[in-house]
């Protein structure tokens, strides 16, 4: 047999293998069961949930089907009303006081990333181009500002160094107020600067000038507190990643890296006044910036399993004091945020 024949045969085997795989997986894709209904499990032990108070959950839908990636607003009451907003397909979303930020990825010849600023009626107001793959976003409680973190990576495989970029934007104008990388950082009162700084996971305080975030340098994540007006931040403590400030501004929920080179993340809550850390009941690894459901419970997404076409995640709920056990809040959901009447909710 000549080499040329062998090569043609080899190519045929390779192509047949690829085509076969596509055929088999497409077959499975065409014949799945109908997309599961959105089921919201009501949190029974929610102290703040009063019958008169309207409270809804905004999230990115990750259940398989046509609506994958769209925003969903689900009423957390007995009506079980669910509204879809297919006009906004987001990778990550956050909302507060009538303003929301939706991070997008538009797949094309060159995939581009952006941020859409939208209002309570889900109308778009501003668009920003982002320099990398969207990771986290947070709107300040007063709805004036937002923070966005993206992953910027080298183009080639050989230099797959990922770094983060975190920017603060003004939601009324859509302008960038600053890049945390340009802020003056203080450590023990003295200016501190290293080439390997990476910032991510901003969470705003109630006054929206002060914020908390993560700064990693020399492989160690630090909790930092900063001021947007003064364009500076200072190191507070080690080992705190992706902080999320409680609505009453007294505690910070965060993911803590456990294990060596290959980390798992355990959810913890830090009491700001005392510095006391409490491990939460969730024992699975959670790589997320959590969101407070209210002052007593936090929400976070966990992968259900990565299917062929899409990543399906579920949103879980667990008490913020380390007691109890995690409960499933919504299936097929990611990036949840609670909207309360009358401030946040669209009419």
């Amino acid at each position: 047999v000549s080499r040329r024949t062998l090569f043609v045969a080899w190519c045929a085997v390779c192509l047949a293998g690829a085509a076969g795989y596509v055929a088999v997986t497409t077959w499975h894709r065409v014949t799945p069961a109908a997309a599961p209904q959105t089921t919201v499990t009501l949190p029974q032990e929610t102290p703040t949930l009063e019958p008169a108070e309207r409270i809804e959950l905004l999230y990115r839908r990750t259940a398989l089907g046509e609506t994958y990636g769209t925003l969903v607003l689900a009423a957390l009451d007995s009506t079980g009303r669910v509204r879809y907003f297919p006009g906004l397909r987001c990778e990550r979303v956050h909302f507060a006081s009538g303003w929301g930020v939706c991070l997008t990825a538009s797949r094309g010849v060159f995939t581009t990333y952006g941020a859409e600023v939208f209002d309570a009626g889900f109308e778009r107001h501003h668009h920003l181009n982002l320099a990398g793959v969207p990771s986290r976003t947070r709107v300040s409680p007063d709805g004036r500002r937002a923070a966005i973190t993206v992953f910027v990576s080298g183009h080639s495989y050989a230099a797959a160094n990922f770094s983060t970029q975190t920017i603060i934007i003004d939601l009324s104008t859509g302008e960038i107020l600053g890049d945390l990388e340009r802020y003056t950082i203080f450590k023990d009162g003295a200016p501190f600067r290293r080439p390997d700084f990476n910032f991510w996971g901003v969470t705003f305080t109630r006054n929206s000038d002060r914020f908390y975030a993560t700064l990693r340098t020399a492989g160690i994540p630090h909790l930092i507190e900063g001021s947007i007006r003064e364009r500076q931040a200072w190191l507070l403590r080690e080992g705190v990643e992706c902080p999320a400030l409680s609505p009453d501004n007294t505690r910070i929920a965060f993911k803590k890296r456990v294990g060596g080179a290959f980390p798992k993340w355990r959810l913890h809550v830090l009491e700001i006044a005392t510095g006391k850390e409490t491990a939460l009941a969730e024992t699975r690894s959670a790589d997320d910036q959590v969101e407070w459901f209210d002052d007593h419970q936090i929400m976070y997404a966990l992968p259900e399993g990565t299917t062929r076409t899409s990543a399906v995640t579920n949103v879980w709920l667990t008490p913020a004091d380390g007691s109890g056990a995690p409960r499933l809040l919504v299936e097929g959901a990611y990036s949840p945020v609670v909207l309360r009447a009358p401030n946040d909710l669209p009419k």
């Binding site: 990922f162 992968p303 062929r308 990543a311």
Partner: protein, 417 residues
Amino acid sequence: MYQADWIERIKAKRPITGRQAHLTVSRTVWYLGFTSLFTDISSEMVASTLPMYLVLHLGLSPLQFGFVDGLYQGMTALLRLVAGLIADRWRRYKEVAAAGYGLSAICKMGLLWAGSVWPMLVTVIAVDRLGKGLRSAPRDALLSLSMAQEHLGVAFGVHRTLDAGGAMLGPLGACALLLLAPGAYDVLFMVSFCVALIGLGVLVLFVENCQAVTVSTDRLMVSLGLAIGLLREPRFRGIALAGGLLSLATISDNFIYLALQQRMQFSGSKFPLLSFFTALFYVVLAVPLGHLADRVGRSTVFLGGYGLLLLLYSAASVVGSNFAAFVGCTALLGAYYAATDGVLMAMASAALPTDLRTSGLAVLTTVTSLMRLLSSVLLGWLWTTGGGFAALHWFLAGLMGAIVMASFWLHHRAEDV
């Protein structure tokens, strides 16, 4: 001073060798080129979509890749030398290269198996890059052994054209695939795996190990000591010193792109366009410049390439924000690659003995890659202490000095090929 040289050389060579002779390269070169073409399509398909896959699909925070990178660099350097020695000792260039290409091919499937398990993902990516380190020296050695010395420049030019062409096609293929089947990363990895297998098939079925004419024993005298000892030979040492120093004074592409972005104020989303244009110019210019290198002297073209880089660094701090400047800068960068990457290998191959070709090339690439690593550390430090443009100016001055030193190391010998 060199201009007079060029003219003399062109005058001297034109009547002797016709154009046709220059552009003919051996079958091995074509086969190795197509192996690289398929392999690069395959790996760039995955590389260009990997950040998206990790962050958006798996929901991971991939910061720890940089962490693993340093560790990996050391590992690859060592493996590259060992692979070089094995290939030389048993003259099994093809087999060692095939092992490298095979490892990388398997890793495309490995990504699918790894799922979102961190240790497995990191391992798969590390093994893939290990494969890359394993294959390049034996492949370049085989390529150089298949050609007469005076045509090495054009031979490497042909290979690099196909290689960079694959790197351009890969991301386009990946995007087309993801547009047809959104989120179907499994199909993407599967197709990438099959394309890599086709590349491996070209290598295994068509490429043959060159039987070196100068040696007759089955087992050659090769050792690490001998390989390192190559650096005592003045010609190769000159090339290694020049290559190393110039690599130290070279800013990595990503930083160049970043500096251009700061200067021209374009959106970060145009980065892929920058690397696309750079690759395009590289593809177009690799053969003509390799050809020129064979005619006027490889060291001249090699140093000329760094001259273009010097121009780029100067331009990056003064250019305005328009499309012509954008394309012009990528043209300079692409031409720099075309004039240096393959030409350095051609130059080194010509200076290395047949028996130790792979080991010597492995020593050289180890030197240049370690210097590149050092350069990025240095640049990061300069960038943070003095800002982007101060860093650029330091490197501009450094590169000027390095070119002067390198031209001394490369040109003070008479027998420059």
